[in-house]
């Protein structure tokens, strides 16, 4: 029995959740079935993966010196 493929719009909506492992096994299967047939959505998936790791590395812990000075003084006066 073949189930109907979900449309691209549905697949794309779930790609991030798919990468996060945050969808049900049934939804996961429907996304994978779609991806097996759709090159555009495979591209979407790869890009979503890239944006995801881009976000994860998108910050660095920097603190302006004057803010550090204020906070250190604040700690002294606790």
């Amino acid at each position: 029995m073949t189930e109907q493929l979900i449309p691209c719009s549905e697949a794309v909506k779930r790609l991030w959740e798919y990468l996060d492992n945050a969808i049900s096994p049934e939804e996961q299967e429907s996304v994978e079935k779609h991806l097996a047939f759709c090159r555009t959505c495979c591209g979407e998936l790869e890009f979503a993966r890239e944006v995801r790791s881009f976000l994860a590395t998108g910050t660095s812990d920097v603190i302006p010196q004057h803010v550090r000075d204020h906070l250190e003084r604040f700690l002294d006066e606790l």
Partner: protein
């Protein structure tokens, strides 16, 4: 209750609860705290950190080991942020989802072709963003949506933990996260244009 997780080799149980001990433990965390505060609430970032340090010092007794000081402080910071969010005028949840759901950054980049001579268009697009650009994009997103995005994808907390910290149902966190991802993509595209990150924006 003590967790069942074995302690890392260099992890020490906090025994010294003096002000000086608190100071020594928190000093190395200031940059991380400030960075998170700035992403949650840029305008009051410093106040947020101060309030966090104050609350943390008052509950210094609840910190078990020195290795957990970073996550412990960040959790307190999110609590402080949550309280300020509550005090402010009610944030308005966006209603319509459809029009933003239709946006695909992947397709937009492919169609608009901002780097005509590139074979790695999508990668080049992301590479054009520096860390301050990412920050600027985040600031374009409404705070109730931005917070779960920052906490989940940048700080690595689970959606369940975020629901607890922000005191909202898990379904709300998931819905906001969904919207936040879309907003992030939309704002990345519009920011890239505004900030002149796209090659085609160059004037001859």
């Amino acid at each position: 209750m003590e967790g069942s997780k074995p302690r890392a080799m260099n992890e020490q149980v906090v025994q010294d609860r003096t002000k000086e001990a608190f100071r020594l433990l928190t000093l190395p965390e200031l940059a991380g705290l400030y960075s998170l505060a700035r992403r949650l609430d840029e305008v009051s970032a410093e106040d947020l950190v101060q309030e966090t340090l104050l609350r943390a010092y008052r509950s210094f007794g609840t910190l078990k080991t020195d290795a957990s000081v970073g996550p412990w402080l960040k959790r307190i910071l999110v609590n402080v942020f949550h309280d300020t969010l509550r005090k402010r005028s009610r944030a308005v949840e966006e209603v319509s989802v459809e029009e933003i759901d239709d946006f695909s950054l992947y397709r937009t980049i492919a169609i608009e072709d901002p780097f005509p001579y590139s074979d790695t268009l999508h990668h080049d697009f992301l590479s054009a963003f520096g860390k301050e650009d990412v920050h600027a994009v985040l600031m374009r997103i409404q705070d109730i949506y931005r917070a779960p995005l920052v906490l989940h994808y940048m700080e690595g907390w689970s959606t369940k933990e975020i629901a607890q910290m922000l005191d909202v149902p898990l379904g709300t966190v998931l819905a906001r996260l969904h919207r936040a991802r879309k907003r992030f993509e939309i704002e990345m595209w519009s920011y890239a244009g505004d900030a002149g990150l796209l090659a085609r924006e160059e004037t001859p």
